[in-house]
Structures are given as C-alpha cells and as structure tokens.
C-alpha cells in the first residue's frame, strides 16, 4: 500500500463534497457530471449554468497546477482501447443515469436506492475488470 495518499484523498474528497453541496443548497440540483455535461451538449434549456459548471471543471486543474508546481498526472494514449472505454463509459452513464459524482456521491449521500444499486454494480464491475484484465 505504498501508493496510499490519505491526506490528499481526505482534502480532495472534502472539496468534492463541498462542490456538490454548493450545487444542492444554492440551485437545488444534483452535481452529476455525466448528466450536466450531456445535457449541456444535447438539450437547449439551462445551457447557461451547465456551461459555467463544465467551465469550472476545465479550469480547476490549471488553477491547482499554479499552486502545486509539481503536479503531474498520466493520460491515456489515443488507441482503440481508449476509444472503447470512452464509448462504454458514455453508454453506461447515459443508460444508468449517472456516474461516480451523481450516483456515488450525491445519490448515496441522499440514500437513493437507485444510486446505491448503481454504485454497487459499477464498483463491482470496475474492480473485476481492472483486477482481471
């Protein structure tokens, strides 16, 4: 477990919780990233706040890297596996009505039976695939 980073995990996780909470207390909405991003692209209503939310997602890493000069992270190569994974994540979060933020944080946080079920299923599938392949 030498890769375990508990401090940054706790700080980062708390920020995620506060970000999602801001959306709920101010705008009364679930901060689900797959839902907001896909509705921004495919629906006409509510484009303003959805665009602002996605802009925040895009800007934050640049802001963090300004304060954490040693910030580096890997990114995938552009190949068939990457494109298939993207397609599966799109199909799955579209049909499943949410991803790690909407189901895993917001949904479980309000004890939604749908979100608890979805999170158990995608966690189990993710662990199985990542461990065996």
């Amino acid at each position: 477990m030498e890769n375990f980073t508990p401090i940054s995990a706790l700080i980062g996780g708390s920020l995620i919780g506060f970000g999602a909470l801001l959306m709920m207390t101010m705008l009364g909405r679930i901060a689900g990233i797959s839902g907001i991003a896909s509705q921004l692209i495919f629906e006409r209503d509510g484009r303003g706040w959805r665009f602002a939310f996605v802009a925040g997602l895009l800007v934050a890493p640049l802001l963090v890297s300004f304060f954490m000069q040693d910030l580096t992270f890997t990114t995938p190569d552009l190949n068939t596996k990457t494109l298939i994974a993207g397609l599966l994540v799109g199909l799955g979060t579209g049909w499943g009505s949410g991803c790690t933020s909407g189901h895993g944080v917001c949904g479980i946080g309000r004890l939604s039976p749908r979100s608890i079920s979805a999170t158990l299923v995608f966690m189990a599938a993710g662990v199985l695939v990542a461990s065996l392949f």
Binding site: G13, L58, G86, V89, W95, S117
Partner: protein
C-alpha cells in the same frame, strides 16, 4: 449569480478530483485493481465527500427550497430497473478498462492529451446513442 455558483461548484469538484489525484487514471486503477499493490485512496476520497455531502444534504432539506431556485430538482424515480443496472454494469466495465470516469476525463482535457480528447469524444458519442436507444 446562478452561473457563478455553478462555476464554483464545478471548480471545487474538479479541484478535489485533481488534488486527490483521481485525475490520474493510473491512480484510479490502483484502487480498482485489488490484486496488485492495492491503493485505498479512492475509498477515502468517496468517504470524505460522502460525509460532507450527506451531512449538508440533510440540513439543506430543512428548507422548502434552495437559495437561488424555487424548488429542489431531485430525481423522482425510485425504481431500480433493468436500464439502470445494465447501464451501471457497462459503465463499470469501461471505468475498469482505463481508469477514467466522466469527471476526471473532462478535468484532464486542458492537459491537451489526445488520448483524453479521444476518450471524451467517444463518451459524448455514447451519450448521444443512449438518447436514441432505450430499453426498459
């Protein structure tokens, strides 16, 4: 004002994803791959987010409405159906294959990585397909 709040919400979420290093798919795979040098960080990220969110959510519902809108927009459906479970299964397979879920992939777009851009375009195509094809 609503746009500013939404921007700050996205900013906080993405800053959390970046600081916890969940923006790095290798870090996420370190959690999902339980057989090889397991890294429990992701569980702690979700745990911390859940403690903050569930506590705040409980108190937010003591009000009749959120501060900037007339009502809460909470999903009405409570039925665990085939489309939800099959969708979650497909998402999990894609997540375990590469280590990217939608948030970290979108956050990493500004790195300019062609792999990340390809992943996101492919994901958007998947979202489009699910608007055309439903199975419930």
């Amino acid at each position: 004002m609503k746009a500013l709040v939404a921007f700050l919400s996205g900013l906080l979420l993405s800053a959390g994803i970046t600081i916890s290093m969940m923006i790095d798919p290798a870090k996420v795979l370190g959690f999902l791959n339980v057989l090889d040098n397991w890294d429990p960080s992701l569980a702690l990220v979700m745990g911390a987010a859940l403690v903050v969110y569930s506590t705040g959510f409980y108190f937010s519902q003591k009000r009749a409405a959120p501060f900037l809108e007339k009502a809460f927009y909470l999903p009405k459906s409570t039925k665990v159906d085939r489309q939800l479970l099959l969708g979650a299964l497909i998402f999990g397979v894609g997540w375990g294959l590469l280590g990217y879920c939608p948030g970290p992939a979108i956050a990493a777009l500004t790195s300019g990585s062609t792999g990340t851009i390809g992943f996101v375009l492919s994901m958007v195509f998947g979202w489009w397909l699910t608007r055309k094809i439903k199975f419930n």
